[in-house]
C-alpha cells in the first residue's frame, strides 16, 4: 500500500464519514470504498481478482438463478438487518427450487450522506450471513444517488444454484390430496420489523426469523425427493403464498387454523394492530407441499433440523376450479384466506 493509499484507507476505515457522490464516481474513491469496506468484509478469491465479473466452473445439472431487490425500513431490526436479509432472501429463493446455492452477487445503491459506519455494519452482517451459509458473494457493484433520491441503502442480490438430479419442485405441481406443511411459527419477521417502526414502536421480545433455509431444504429433499412445491412466504405472508401456488396449480386448499403455528407474542401484536398474522412477512420459514403419503416422513425430516423444529402439517390441497384457499377457523366456522389486499402497512421487506 502506498502512502497515499494508506491515507485513504485510514480515512475510510475510521468510518466517521458518510457516503459522498464521489464514492460512486468510478474513480479512486470508489475503488477505495470497494477495497476497504466491501472486500475487507466479503473478501474471497473471486473478489480478490478485482475483475468486473466472476468466472467459475459448475458441475453438471440444472442451474437455477434468482434475483431480489431489498428495500426495508428500518435498515436494522431485532434479529437482523438489510445485509443479512439480502443474503438470506436470495439463498432462500434459490433453495425453494430444491437447489444447492453456489454463488451470490450484490449490487448496492447508496444514498449520499449515508453514514459509512452503518454501511460497514451492514456489509459485515452480510459477510457473516454469507460465511455461515457457505455461499460467497463473488461479484458486485456500487452506485451512489443524490441525497433524497434513495432511502439509505438498497441492496440487490442475485444467486445461482444447482438442482440435484431427480428433483422437480415448482409452484404449479400441487395436486388434490397433497399435504401442506410449514416449517415453523409465522409472522415473526414482519412483527419484529413493525415493532421498530418510527411511528409504531412497541415493546416485544419477537426477533426476525431471517435465516438461510438451504440446509433445511437439503434435508427435506433427501427425505422426500418428490416434494411438489416449496416456497418461502415472505411479503404477503402465508396467505398470499398459498394463493400464488393455488393459482399456479389450479387447485384449492383447505387449512386448519388450529394447526398453524404462531408465537403468542405475534398473535398479541396482531390483535393490537388489527392485522391478520397469515399476511405477515417471514424471512426464515417455508411452506412445502407433497404427496399425502410422504407428509409424515417430510415432517419428521423438518422437525429434526433446527430451523424446522416447529414444523406442522396445516392442511390439504383440494380440487377447486376457483383456486380458493379456505380455512376452518379455530372457532368451528369457515372462511376464505384471500390474497393480501392492497398494502395496509408501510413496506417491511
Amino acid at each position: 500500500m502506498t502512502v497515499i493509499e494508506a491515507r485513504f484507507a485510514k480515512a475510510d476505515a475510521c468510518l466517521g464519514g458518510a457516503v459522498e457522490m464521489i464514492h460512486g464516481s468510478g474513480g479512486r474513491a470508489t475503488a477505495e470504498l470497494v477495497r476497504n469496506l466491501f472486500h475487507r468484509h466479503l473478501g474471497n478469491a473471486f473478489l480478490a481478482q478485482g475483475n468486473d465479473q466472476a468466472a467459475f466452473d459448475i458441475g453438471a445439472g440444472r442451474l437455477v438463478m434468482t434475483t431480489d431487490a431489498h428495500v426495508i425500513a428500518p435498515l436494522f431490526f431485532p434479529g437482523g438487518d438489510i445485509g443479512s436479509l439480502a443474503v438470506h432472501g436470495t439463498i432462500n429463493d434459490v433453495a425453494m427450487a430444491g437447489a444447492r446455492p453456489l454463488y451470490l452477487s450484490a449490487a448496492f445503491v447508496l444514498e449520499e450522506g449515508f453514514p459509512l459506519a452503518d454501511l460497514d455494519r451492514i456489509v459485515a452482517s452480510m459477510a457473516r450471513a454469507s460465511r455461515e451459509a457457505g455461499v460467497p458473494v463473488v461479484t458486485g457493484d456500487t452506485k451512489v444517488v443524490e441525497k433524497g433520491k434513495g432511502d439509505g441503502v438498497f441492496i440487490t442480490t442475485t444467486g445461482i444454484g444447482l438442482v440435484p438430479e431427480g428433483v422437480h419442485i415448482s409452484g404449479d405441481r400441487a395436486c388434490p390430496g397433497d399435504a401442506i406443511l410449514v416449517s415453523g411459527t409465522l409472522g415473526d419477521h414482519g412483527i419484529a420489523v413493525l415493532s421498530k417502526r418510527e411511528n409504531l414502536s412497541f415493546e416485544t421480545e419477537i426477533v426476525s426469523d431471517s435465516a438461510a433455509l438451504h440446509g433445511l431444504v437439503a434435508d427435506m429433499v433427501a427425505a422426500v425427493p418428490t416434494i411438489h412445491c416449496l416456497r418461502d412466504p415472505t411479503r404477503g405472508g402465508l396467505g398470499s403464498t398459498l394463493n400464488e401456488i393455488a393459482q399456479q396449480s389450479r387447485v384449492g386448499m383447505r387449512l386448519a387454523e388450529s394447526a398453524i403455528p404462531f408465537k403468542p407474542d405475534v398473535v398479541a401484536a396482531c390483535e393490537l394492530l388489527g392485522l391478520d398474522p397469515l399476511y405477515i412477512a417471514n424471512e426464515g420459514k417455508l411452506t412445502a407441499i407433497c404427496e399425502k403419503g410422504d407428509a409424515g416422513r417430510l415432517l419428521a425430516a423438518m422437525r429434526a433440523h433446527p430451523l424446522g423444529r416447529d414444523a406442522a402439517i396445516i392442511g390439504e390441497v383440494v380440487a377447486d376450479v376457483h383456486a380458493f384457499v379456505q380455512m376452518q377457523t379455530r372457532f368451528g366456522g369457515n372462511r376464505m384466506v384471500d390474497w393480501l389486499l392492497g398494502d395496509p402497512l408501510p413496506r417491511i421487506c
Partner: protein, 379 residues
C-alpha cells in the same frame, strides 16, 4: 393468548349454537342487525353465520366510520392537502377511499401531497411538534370511541401552545344513526330488522342508557355485544329470547366493559371540547340531524375547517353503487351489480369495499363463493 382465546372457544361456541338452534322458533325468521363493522368482521372472520340455523341471519349495519363518511368530506381532506399544502395525517383505511373524480388520498400522496398514515392522533401531535414549520392536520373520523382521544389531543395542543396543529373533525354519533335507520325502516317498510346488536366500544364510552329510548319507541330489542365471536353469539341468543318472549329492552351482554352510564370522565372531556352539529351528511343515510360533532369556539384555533376555510362542494356517490342501501341494511353486498365485478378491494368503487370493516369487503375477503363446509381430515 390470555383474555382473548377464552372468547373464541370452540366448545362454548358449539354450546351456544346448540342453544340458539333449540330456542329459535322455526316458524319465524330472526333478522338481527349488528351495528358495528367490528361485529361484521368477527362474524365473517370466525364463520359465525355457519353456526347459525337458517332462520337466523345477520343484517350488516352502518357502524363503520370509513364507510359512512360522505365523499364530500374526503374531497375536503384532499383540498386541505393539495390546495393548502398541509401535512395531512390519516388512518390507513381512509387513504384508499375513492373521492370524487376517482381521486383518493393515496393518489394525492403519489402526486406529491404530504399525507402520512398514523395509528393514533398522538402520532399526528408528534409530527406537529417535530415539524414546527409545517401545518399538520389530523383527519379525525369515528364514532364515540375515537372522540375522547381527539378531545384530549386538542386540549394537549392548546396547553402546549402548539400553533401548527389542527383537526379536521368528522366525528359522528351512534344513537343518531340508529334513529335514522329505524325511522327509515318504519317509513318505507323496506327493511325488516327484528333486533339490534348494539355497539361495544362505543357503548363503553356512552353507556347503555342512550339506547333505551329506541328500544322502547321502536319496539326492538337492543343487546349491546362485544366484538369477540362468542360475544356476538351470546348476544344473538339474548336477542332471540327477547323476541320469543315479546320483550324489547336494552340488554347488556358486554358487561365486562359497558355500564349503564358509560365513561363519564370521557363524556365530560368530549363535551368540553366538542359540540353537536345541527346536521351532518352520512353516506347511505343522507342528512341526519344532530348526528355529528364539531370543535367548540373556545378551541377554534385547532379547527382545520375554520383555519383553512375549506370550500369544496359535496358531490354524489358513484352511480349504481349500492353502498347507501347496504349501509341502511336494505340490501346485501351480493345484491349490488358492481360487487366483485368492477368493485373489489383492489379497485373499490364504494366505501363499504374499502374499509376492512365494511360489509362488502368482509363478504369479498371471507365469504365469496363459499362451498358447503366439509370436515377437514386430521391435520
Amino acid at each position: 393468548m390470555k383474555y382473548v382465546d377464552e372468547f373464541r372457544d370452540r366448545q362454548l361456541a358449539e354450546g351456544l349454537a346448540k342453544a340458539i338452534r333449540h330456542e329459535a322458533n322455526t316458524r319465524r325468521s330472526y333478522n338481527v342487525m349488528e351495528f358495528c363493522g367490528g361485529h361484521t368482521h368477527a362474524i365473517f372472520r370466525y364463520g359465525v353465520q355457519d353456526l347459525m340455523p337458517k332462520n337466523v341471519s345477520y343484517v350488516h349495519g352502518p357502524g363503520c366510520p370509513v364507510c359512512v363518511l360522505p365523499i364530500g368530506r374526503i374531497d375536503h381532506a384532499l383540498e386541505l392537502s393539495e390546495q393548502h399544502g398541509v401535512t395531512l395525517c390519516s388512518y390507513g383505511d381512509m387513504l384508499r377511499v375513492p373521492a370524487s373524480k376517482r381521486r383518493s388520498l393515496l393518489k394525492a400522496k403519489a402526486d406529491g401531497a404530504d399525507i402520512r398514515m398514523v395509528y393514533s392522533i398522538d402520532d399526528a401531535l408528534k409530527i406537529a411538534r417535530q415539524n414546527p414549520s409545517r401545518e399538520v392536520v389530523f383527519f379525525a373520523i369515528g364514532f364515540e370511541t375515537t372522540t375522547p382521544p381527539t378531545a384530549v389531543a386538542i386540549r394537549k395542543a392548546q396547553a402546549e401552545g402548539l400553533k401548527n396543529f389542527s383537526v379536521f373533525c368528522n366525528h359522528v354519533l351512534t344513537p343518531a344513526a340508529l334513529k335514522a335507520i329505524l325511522g327509515n325502516a318504519e317509513e318505507s317498510g323496506s327493511v325488516s330488522i327484528d333486533a339490534f346488536l348494539g355497539p361495544s366500544h362505543v357503548s363503553s364510552v356512552i353507556g347503555s342508557k342512550p339506547y333505551e329510548y329506541f328500544a322502547d319507541k321502536y319496539k326492538r330489542p337492543v343487546v349491546i355485544a362485544g366484538f369477540e365471536p362468542l360475544d356476538v353469539m351470546q348476544a344473538t341468543l339474548m336477542a332471540i329470547r327477547q323476541l320469543n318472549e315479546g320483550r324489547h329492552v336494552v340488554e347488556n351482554q358486554y358487561v365486562r366493559v359497558v355500564t349503564r352510564d358509560g365513561n363519564v370522565k370521557a363524556q365530560t372531556l368530549v363535551a368540553e371540547v366538542l359540540e353537536l352539529r345541527s346536521s351532518f351528511e352520512w353516506r347511505g343515510l343522507g342528512e341526519v340531524p344532530s348526528s355529528a360533532l364539531r370543535i367548540r369556539e373556545a378551541y377554534a384555533d385547532f379547527d382545520a375547517e375554520k383555519r383553512f376555510g375549506v370550500t369544496t362542494k359535496p358531490s354524489r356517490d358513484a352511480k349504481s353503487c349500492e353502498c347507501p342501501s347496504i349501509l341502511r341494511g336494505e340490501k346485501k353486498p351480493t345484491d349490488c351489480k358492481l360487487f366483485g365485478t368492477v368493485c373489489t378491494p383492489d379497485n373499490p368503487i364504494g366505501s363499504c369495499m374499502v374499509s376492512s370493516e365494511g360489509a362488502c369487503a368482509a363478504y369479498w375477503t371471507y365469504g365469496r363463493f363459499r362451498q358447503p363446509s366439509s370436515p377437514l381430515e386430521a391435520a
